[in-house]
Amino acid sequence: MPQFSDAITTSAPPEEVWKLLYDASRFAEWWEGIETSEVRDGGATIYPDGYPDFPMPQAIEASRDDGGRVRISCLVSDIRFEWRLTEHAGGTRISVEVEVPEEEAQRFDRQREVAQKSLRNLAECARA
């Protein structure tokens, strides 16, 4: 399965980045290409820019076994983002690993761009 990873460092403390990552209602604040997001009955749904009637439910998993990563999988496209935070020089290093299924391979470059911008947004948002 095609995959890539990226990372960024921010001066924001880990807990502020963490609050954005774990709160699906705030995804739109930093996730590139997401217009709105909502949380209902414990599940998260995002709506892409320009597609207010195209809900994309997300599965947010947190697993104790793989080093505290937050895994957000799109249940429509099967693209999976794994985010990980580590403390770094008084701030936070944010890493992301993205898996794109074969059938979505044409979106690979676009997803790389999304990840890069989202990382930047997340770092800035947390600093605010």
Binding site: E15, V17, W18, Y22, R40, D41, I60, A62, R64, D65
Partner: protein, 1061 residues
Amino acid sequence: MTVEIDGKPLPAPAGRRAWSLLAWLALHPGPQARGELAARFWPDVLDTSARASLRSAVWTLRRDLGDAGGAHVVATRDHVELEGDVAVDAREFDALVAEGELARAAELGDAPLLAGFEDEWALRARDAHRDHLIDVLERLAEDAEPKAALSYTRRQVALEPMGEEVHRRLMRRLAATGDRPAALAAYERLRERLRRELGLAPSAATRELAEALRGEGASSAAAADEAIVVAATAAPAPTRRLLPLAGREAELQALLRAWDEARAGSGAVVVLRGEAGIGKTRLATELLDRARAQGARGAVCAGLELGGGAPLGLWAELAAELGREVPAPPPESAWPDDLSRLAPELAARFGRDPAARADVPPELERARLFEAAAELVAWATHDCPAVLVMEDLHLVDDLSLDLVGYVARRVPRLPVLVVLTRRELPRRPAVDALEQALRARGALAAELVLAPLEDTAVATLSRAIGALDDADVAQVVLGAEGNALLAVEQARALAAGEREPPASLRGAVRAAMAPLPDDARRVAELAAVAGRDLDPGELVSLPLDDPRAAASRAVQTGLLDAGAGRFGYRHALLREAVYADLPGPHRAHLHEAIATVLIERADPGPGRRAAEAARHLRLAGRDDQAVEQLARAADHARAVGAIDEAAGFLAEALELRPEDTELLLAASDAEAWRGHRALAEERFEQALKLVEAEGDPLACATAWLHLERGYHGPICYPRGVLHTSTRVLEILDEAGLDARALRLEALSARAWSEAIAGDADEAERLLAQVLDLAGGKLDDGLLRFDVSHARQLALIRRGQFREAYGPSIEAGVDAVRAGRPDLSAGIWINAAAAAMAVGEHARAEEFIDRALEALDGVGTFALELLTWSARAHLYLRTGRLDAARDAAAHAEELADRLGSPEYARLTACDSGLVALARGEHERAAALLARALDGEAPISRPLARLTRAEALAALHRCDEADAEIRATALEPVGPADFPDTLVARLTRVQGLVAAARGDDALAQRRLRESAAGWRRITDRGRGDRMHAVFADFGRPAIGLVEPARELERVEAELEELHAAVQ
């Protein structure tokens, strides 16, 4: 003997004769004629030489006593006398008796007189003192109330273990208290001791008393016949005769101090360390003998030198030995039944019927056995103190070491001293870890390292062996290099007429064995090959014409010992030396002979000697026969909860016979119990290939069911259960087989997997199929449990909490009836969680009570702990904070008993939550720090946030911030309720800001938190409960209640707002 001058102890003088002379003078006040003294102490030399030796001894004595010597050792031309202000405890004993101060006399005079002195006069004085003391104890007993009288009488028996009169007194007094079984047990011990050590039967008077106690039992004529048979067949065996304890006075005093503390009720553990042959056993024996003389119980057990023996072998031996000594416990106590799995002889000894018991998970079996062993030690000390000697810890199996650590936690509250001996090398990390754990708990009263003996001590020891001249003694001192065993063997060789001491222990042993006739040599060789002492039954089963006579002859070499009902080498090094001299083929032949004895004498069912038999067979090159014994050893290990060892035996058996389906499936089961899914699957795949090749669909379905049980029970892998149970049903359908029992099990397992991780509705449909197939009635109790359990889980999953009560009650009752209190307790706690979820607190408490009722007396502290933890959460949730504190404290006590760091952290977390609710912020912060200091089945993010809250309340804001940051870096799982964490963390950030006085930030954070809680609904509560169950192995007592959380945050906001205003 100890000497003090003005309260200061004096070291023993170099000259043994001088010391002996002092003892004589101390016991015999007044002038002693020189001629008589010289003749007494030097009887074999001319009068002039004897007098010269006396002069020399007096001079040595006065020198060694320093100023006091001149003052008190008065020597004239004709007499020698100990004069002046000299206090002698033995004489004081006599004076107290004369004054009628019997209790004080018995206390003062209870140690053996002149222990370690082997002169004829000293032996007679010791005997006379013992008789005198027995008289005193009897006079005390006659005037005492029954319990104290028994204690006095037991001391008499300890002083005279083969005395018939004292035993009759004990039997009568036990019978008078209504404990006739104990009276008869005392008789049996005497009878066995006389038979074993003297080859005699008890006298007619004693037999008649036993018969009278038996009442309508066996006729006295039969008893008399038996006595004659015993007397006629038992060859005499020499009684044990110890060499003097030389050069270990300081160590002995340290041991005796620990013993004094222990018998006063503050028990402890002592470790004796030192190289082989240095004298560890001799020192422990000295303590044991002295303690027994004071009326204490004693038992000795040792690691197996052969290696690879049965798990818990050390404790099996100890249990059997203590079992012979202690009175029968009350019929209602459960521990003898549990312990009988380890030491089957206990069932007969205590008159128990070893009823078949349900198989339970290994960890539960182990927990029961551990607790039963602790109960045995407590029972062995309920009426008198005890010394337990555990020898050669470096050879002991890991599980036995764990049990030593477990029991040691109770020891400080019991009148017992546990003496552990070990060699320094080879290093054994598990023994080091045990010592470290004991040290950390303050349970180690002393750690004694036995250094090489001083030359004077070696000389003393050598002279005690026989008549050696100074040159011989000097040779021994030079050659032994402070090693007691080597000194004794070299001295023995010289005393036997060897011209030169052997250069090595092996040489000395060879010299001792040389004159033995064939049968005696053979029995000595078999004992060397056995690797441990043989019991009387094993001895008489050896392939010899008259094994007892042969053993008696072999004992005369001095290499072997036949005391205390065991036959074996005096020391491991002696055994090793004999073993090393055996030619290979002969050695193999002897190993096979020992294996045959062990197999022929094995109990039916899994035998604890099977592992040993397997080891002998492998050493004999009989791998073909070893496989069966390894399989039996695995069964035994499994039966005592030693699943790692069981897996090890099976792996070894499979190396010898790789294509054995039964072994492969048993190995798959064992790996599943160890939680090794991949290994369990690998063994199963190997077995499946063989089974499929045979083309028997029923065997195939049965094999699949093996794996299903592993997934269902120990591994807890619902997807695997779904796959395997489906496969079983497919195979049966394809082959058109009815196999109702297999179908029922597979269907109910499939229902369980759907209930816990799949489709709850599908689970209900499958359960209906189970009932339909069973004709509406399930006969098998465990199957009924499975069905009700699956139904309970399905209902909880769907949030139908009240509806789950009915199946919960059915499952709980069925589990108890099927002998599985562990399953029952789990069901009741699930039910309590369901009741809490709908706010029915009284019902929840009732369910928790039922869980505790199911576990009562089972000895499963881990389950009890989880139940008390659930109770603490229930009380916390309902605001009964004192009760919550008590319940959490009880759980902490149980964690302490278990000695499990993980459970200690879990209970610290519970107590921390309660402390915070009670406003005890310092305590909460400390407890939660402890909870977070390592692995534990707790929600770490939630524990950190709770600690941060406590720190904020203490205005330790920087620490609170650090805890919040650490929360963000913790791994998070479903059981941490990730969707609620942001609202929680933001609230605590608000509290920290408020503590810093930053009201604006505090209000902002609290408002953010409130907004977060408004977005969270309480739907999916059943899934939440299952998430906690899957992550921590227990349900959440009290689920997240967003409305309640919101209410709290809003109240805090309001309070802050009011304060700002």
